[in-house]
Symmetry: none
Subunit: 400 residues, 2 copies
């Protein structure tokens, strides 16, 4: 089903989308309450009595979303219909929205022996400082005519490799042999444009090896997941929204950039984000995306109490967000991260939508079980944005 | 949406799918409880408090599934996208999984008069013994060069007609005129391969009529629903599951064979099936399908008390199933058979999914109304298998 584009109104009320990363949880084995249910959240509970509740399923049945696909789904994009490679996700994770005409790949520093056989695919996991130094050295010493090459250092052996040149294709194989004791694979491109990319990668790798020849840490590199920027309609083009992203972590700013949001300084967390929302409203933004990472981090650590605390911290900040001039407030997650699983899961995430057009359930609180019986029901991720636009009086009626 | 095949993990936990045939029901006019709600099911009720509940809709809104499509839908196949004829269903119903290169048709013994006009399309509904005798006689006396013909006797006038030969097509018309007093239609095939099938059917029918000329019961036959085996990915290929089917009735073994399950001796019912599940786990099967026919039979008879008893019998056997080493337990139906309707219906069937990753509702029981508000919501039949694989830790995350 394609949403009829003529229904989107150019004006309407202001929307705040608050994503508590990994919000959804599962019952604690002792007391049977989920993290959100166990948390003391007087502000969200009070708001839920003036809100429509429901749940969001980010991906089809049983599929567990990574953070990238989870956010894309919330932002109205079906992640399964979007072809993108690891390189794009790496670039986004570095707060780098790939531009049209650029190619990104995920890079690993590695070690090879005298015959070119890969010895360690991760070069012994160097420190982040070493990685930064190696990226800077290769960037400085390796140049290719007519091509701009950027290396963005990541954690340990990881970096993002980005090239800019005319008419490049991304259909290039990974050169990672996946096992040690074998040579890296030669780069080959499918079609003329990708053959150019493969030739650039080949040339870059030869020069990088020369540059790294005297290094004890790493003397070569592996590249995988060659990607271009996929065509994604932006929030302005698609929804007529002037959207700001307030995320502390680069990955989430990157995904927001991909859909045309403008990252704004989110400072160090919730308090700074509340001030930043007010500033964004004053700047005439009519959509703000606020990302709160801590519940997911605690979920991955299997720390129930820490996840409860991370949710309570958001609840404590909620009055400031409510006071910033937003008309529609949505609170949800990009996926579940139950602490008993210590990883992401497929379970639908709780959703609260507050507006003056909400259909609340009296005496409800904000929690997994309360949300199962709410007005919104269980919707797919890409169904959320139209719902928020409707609450913000930004959708025309369909038909007479 | 095509489910990305790379997400399926080759290993994980063990899954048991328990299908209570015709499980779903409607309220009794006197007390307002459905069969499942009225049944005393302490074991399923206790399990539901450690399970995710929901409902399964086997076919699109309003469509009532037969047993074949109902099971195919549970097994992950959209029955509307699978082209198969009555002949295949008949073969499956005889516990006969059609092989590639074979053609099956549904056969009726019938009577014709001296001018070849059909007198009785069901030959006065002969006894099953008569049907077996006629099938044996025709099988013995009728032969066609280069073609193997098998007749599998069914109930009364029914048999399954299966031929094996090279390069056969199934685009052949039924010869049943549907009314008495008319001649059977000549067989015609669309395309060269189906023309060969039509010629074999014509030749077989002439010889069968000669063979039956001295019979008082039936002197001809009608064939309909010519079918080949459809391409269906097996459980091993698609889900990396080594799957066993424990069904007493041949129809359900046949459908299970079609998706690559291995039928195992299910004995005479629940007690034997519980022992067989344990044996299958010991044989390293990691998926078992257990079929319990009685609720459907009682529903067709309009016998509310008998359907309640059939459900209670399963509940009594549940502890033995729970004790057999399965990690994920799903209990559902292949369709509803409300006793007040005395036939299958389109109503979504209750679903219980127990695993250590479930999101239960406290104080819930297993019944139609409780399942309406469960974690799983209402899912389509083909969404069930990915959900069970997720609960069994057999699906990778999508994206980083």
């Amino acid at each position: 089903m394609t949403f009829p584009a003529h229904l989107y109104r150019p004006v309407g009320e202001r929307i705040g989308l608050f994503v508590l990363d990994g919000l959804g949880g599962l019952p604690h084995p002792d007391h049977g309450l989920t993290e959100l249910e166990a948390a003391k959240t007087p502000n969200m509970d009070a708001l839920s009595q003036k809100s429509s509740l429901g749940r969001v399923q980010l991906l089809p049945s049983g599929m567990t979303p990574g953070s990238g696909p989870g956010h894309l789904s919330l932002f109205g994009i079906d992640p399964l219909e979007l072809e993108f490679g690891r390189g794009l996700l790496e670039a986004l994770g570095s707060d780098y929205a790939l531009e049209p005409g650029q190619i990104a790949a995920r890079g690993n520093f590695c070690t090879i022996d005298g015959e070119g056989l890969v010895q360690d695919r991760r070069a012994g996991r160097p420190t982040d400082d070493e990685c930064r130094r190696l990226c800077a050295k290769v960037s400085e010493q390796v140049s290719i005519d007519g091509v701009s090459v950027e290396l963005i250092p990541g954690k340990q052996h990881r970096f993002t490799w980005i090239i800019t040149a005319a008419d490049l294709g991304a259909k290039v194989n990974d050169n990672d042999p996946q096992v040690t004791g074998k040579s890296a694979l030669p780069f080959q491109g499918q079609g003329a444009e990708s053959a150019v990319t493969a030739a650039i990668a080949t040339q870059w790798l030869e020069k990088a090896q020369q540059c790294l020849a005297d290094e004890s840490v790493a003397n070569s590199a592996l590249l995988r997941g060659f990607s271009t920027r996929p065509h994604v309609p932006g929030f302005a083009e698609k929804y007529h929204l002037h959207a700001a992203a307030l995320a502390v972590y680069p990955m989430y700013r990157g995904v927001a950039r991909l859909v045309g949001m403008q990252p704004r300084d989110a400072g160090r967390g919730l308090e700074d984000q509340a001030a930043a929302v007010k500033a964004a409203i004053a700047e005439d933004f009519d959509f703000v995306f606020v990302h709160h990472k801590d519940p997911d981090t605690a979920g991955h650590s299997g720390d129930f109490a820490a996840k409860v605390a991370a949710i309570e911290a958001f609840d404590a900040a909620l009055p400031a967000f409510l006071d910033s001039g937003l008309d529609v407030i949505a609170i949800t997650g990009d996926h579940s991260t139950p602490t008993i699983m210590e990883e992401h899961s497929w379970h639908a995430v709780p959703l609260l939508v507050h507006s003056k057009r909400a259909l609340p359930q009296p005496d409800s609180t904000f929690g997994e079980r309360a949300c199962m019986n709410g007005d919104v029901g269980t919707i797919r991720g890409p169904e959320l944005m139209p719902l928020l636009l409707a609450h913000a009086n930004r959708l025309d009626k369909f038909g007479a």
